[in-house]
């Protein structure tokens, strides 16, 4: 009883949190490497063989830097903002299903922290809190460029959250459940990844995901060339690092959610082809991580390739293209569900 209710969940939380934080630091290295290779460079090469220890050096550097608070800043909000950005990005992982239930040392252990009945809503609602970190950071800095950046962030979030949430509605129509585990199970029983059932929803989700994580080509809030550093211009040291952590953790969240919703979560490729059943030899969570990695790679690839949208163009894309498409997709999914 004690073990099942306290020890195992605590262990799971510990493992997931640590994995995410370590994953984030190496994500930064991966980003630098991938973009360097795209651009005919080598990337970090000095710390460790091929620069693999660079993240450790980065973390040490960021932790030992001076933490500056501008005199005119709102001290209280200024110090809380990085936490508001980071915490939602981390607690979303509570409902991400990394794998099914497996038996470990004679115990049935589920490879997720919890399976909420409203898992998908939980993800959306917690993610919507994260933007406060950006807005407040920009406002509390009491500086013009960060303020402009934070205005862009709020406008961007409001536009894209609507489209992304709409695509989730059509996913719920397909799966008939809001539970993350339930959605994977539905894909298993229907023997198809929802990517092939809802390609339009997948596209909208991916574009919206890029926008919500402030990644290129929608990295308006931190557009270096226009707004110098964006909302975190006035931040330094560990507080800056928290924003960095939040951004990359959010990328991992979006990738993991996309994997769960559209790529069958922990299911092997082509669950409907029996001839490929040897793929089941690979543990389920490995499939999950591999698919998430593919998404993360696409994030980096897009960043290395595309120019940046302008703020009003981004709004136009969100409101005039993605939201109507998402609404149409919901209507069509509903009709198909009712008629077939």
């Amino acid at each position: 009883m004690m073990v099942d209710q306290v020890v195992i969940p605590a262990l799971k939380i510990l493992i997931v949190l640590n994995a995410v934080l370590v994953g984030v630091t190496f994500m930064v290295l991966l980003e630098r490497k991938v973009i360097a290779w795209t651009q005919a460079r080598l990337g970090p090469m000095r710390v460790g063989p091929y620069g693999v220890l660079q993240p450790i050096a980065d973390v040490v550097k960021l932790m030992t830097k001076e933490d500056i608070t501008p005199v005119k800043a709102d001290r209280w909000v200024f110090s809380v903002a990085p936490l508001i950005a980071l915490i939602p990005a981390l607690i979303v992982f509570a409902v991400i299903p990394f794998g099914p239930e497996v038996s470990l040392f004679g115990r049935q252990v589920a490879l997720y922290i919890t399976d909420l009945n409203v898992g998908l809503l939980y993800v959306v609602s917690v993610a919507s809190i994260g933007v406060y970190g950006i807005i407040l950071a920009g406002w509390a800095s009491n500086s013009k460029f960060p303020l402009l950046a934070s205005l862009r962030a709020s406008a961007q979030l409001i536009s894209y959250e609507v489209a992304v949430t709409m695509t989730l509605v059509s996913m719920i129509v397909s799966a008939g459940t809001l539970s993350m585990v339930g959605i994977v199970n539905a894909q298993e029983s229907q023997q198809v990844w929802y990517l092939f059932v809802q390609p339009l929803a997948f596209f909208i989700f991916f574009v919206g995901g890029l926008a919500e994580t402030n990644r290129a080509p929608f990295d308006m809030p931190e557009a270096e060339q226009e707004l110098t550093g964006g909302f975190h211009t006035e931040y330094s040291g560990m507080r800056f690092a928290l924003f960095f952590l939040a951004e990359y953790a959010n990328m991992i969240v979006v990738s993991a959610v996309a994997t769960t919703l559209f790529l069958g979560g922990w299911l092997r490729p082509f669950p409907n082809v029996a001839a490929l059943s040897f793929l089941d030899l690979v543990p389920a969570w490995c499939w999950f991580l591999a698919k998430t990695f593919v998404f993360l790679y696409i994030f980096l690839w897009v960043r290395a390739t595309l120019p940046r949208y302008r703020y009003d163009q981004l709004m136009r894309l969100g409101w005039k293209v993605l939201i109507p498409l998402a609404i149409a997709n919901v209507v069509v999914s509903g009709l198909v569900k009712v008629l077939l």
């Binding site: 709102d74 209280w76 909000v77 909420l116 009945n117 409203v118 809503l121 939980y122 959306v124 609602s125 917690v126 993610a127 919507s128 809190i129 933007v131 406060y132 807005i135 407040l136 406002w139 303020l147 934070s150 205005l151 709020s154 979030l157 409001i158 959250e161 949430t165 809001l178």
Partner: protein, 167 residues
């Protein structure tokens, strides 16, 4: 027992945050306390097993509406002193009447509950789940639901008319 402690802790938090919202001088701080208040309310819902309502509370109020509040508060210069209250006595009186009405309503509910305790059957433990909320909205509460949506439509039209007078 644990439920009771959770409830009173959260209720106290909600009250404290609510008070801070109206007493803080800095408007952005005030909005922040409002967010904290909504989050505490969401936790209260969650503690009562109404996960769906809790998630919607966070998504719509904390994540959506208050972002717009914050937008307005940040953009509009609120450093200006508030306009002079012309008739303080009238406002106090109105406030007193409203507070009295709310108190009376709460007392009525408390009395009614004491006389006829609500059933705590199995149905109530699933009352906050998605299916039940959906069913209730589209069967028993269909008319209030539609009326609310018409109200929102009116508000939207009003906002557009106000924003763009030269339509």
């Amino acid at each position: 027992m644990a439920d009771v402690i959770t409830f009173y802790t959260l209720a106290a938090l909600i009250l404290i945050f609510g008070l801070l919202v109206v007493t803080t001088r800095n408007t952005v701080h005030s909005v922040l306390f409002l967010v904290a208040d909504f989050l505490a309310v969401a936790m209260l819902y969650a503690s009562m097993n109404s996960l769906f309502v809790a998630a919607i509370q966070v998504l719509v109020y904390a994540g959506g509406i208050v972002v717009l509040y914050l937008f307005v508060v940040m953009l509009v210069n609120l450093k200006r002193p508030p306009e002079e209250v012309r008739d303080p006595a009238r406002q106090t009186g109105l406030g007193g009447v409203l507070a009295g009405v709310v108190l009376a309503e709460l007392a009525l509910i408390a009395v009614a509950n004491a006389l006829d305790p609500p059933a705590t059957d199995a149905a109530s433990s699933t009352a906050g789940l998605t299916e039940q909320v959906g069913l209730a909205l589209y069967t028993d509460y269909l008319i209030p639901f539609e009326v609310a949506s018409v109200l929102l439509l009116v508000a939207m039209v009003g906002a557009i008319v106000l924003a763009r007078r030269e339509l």
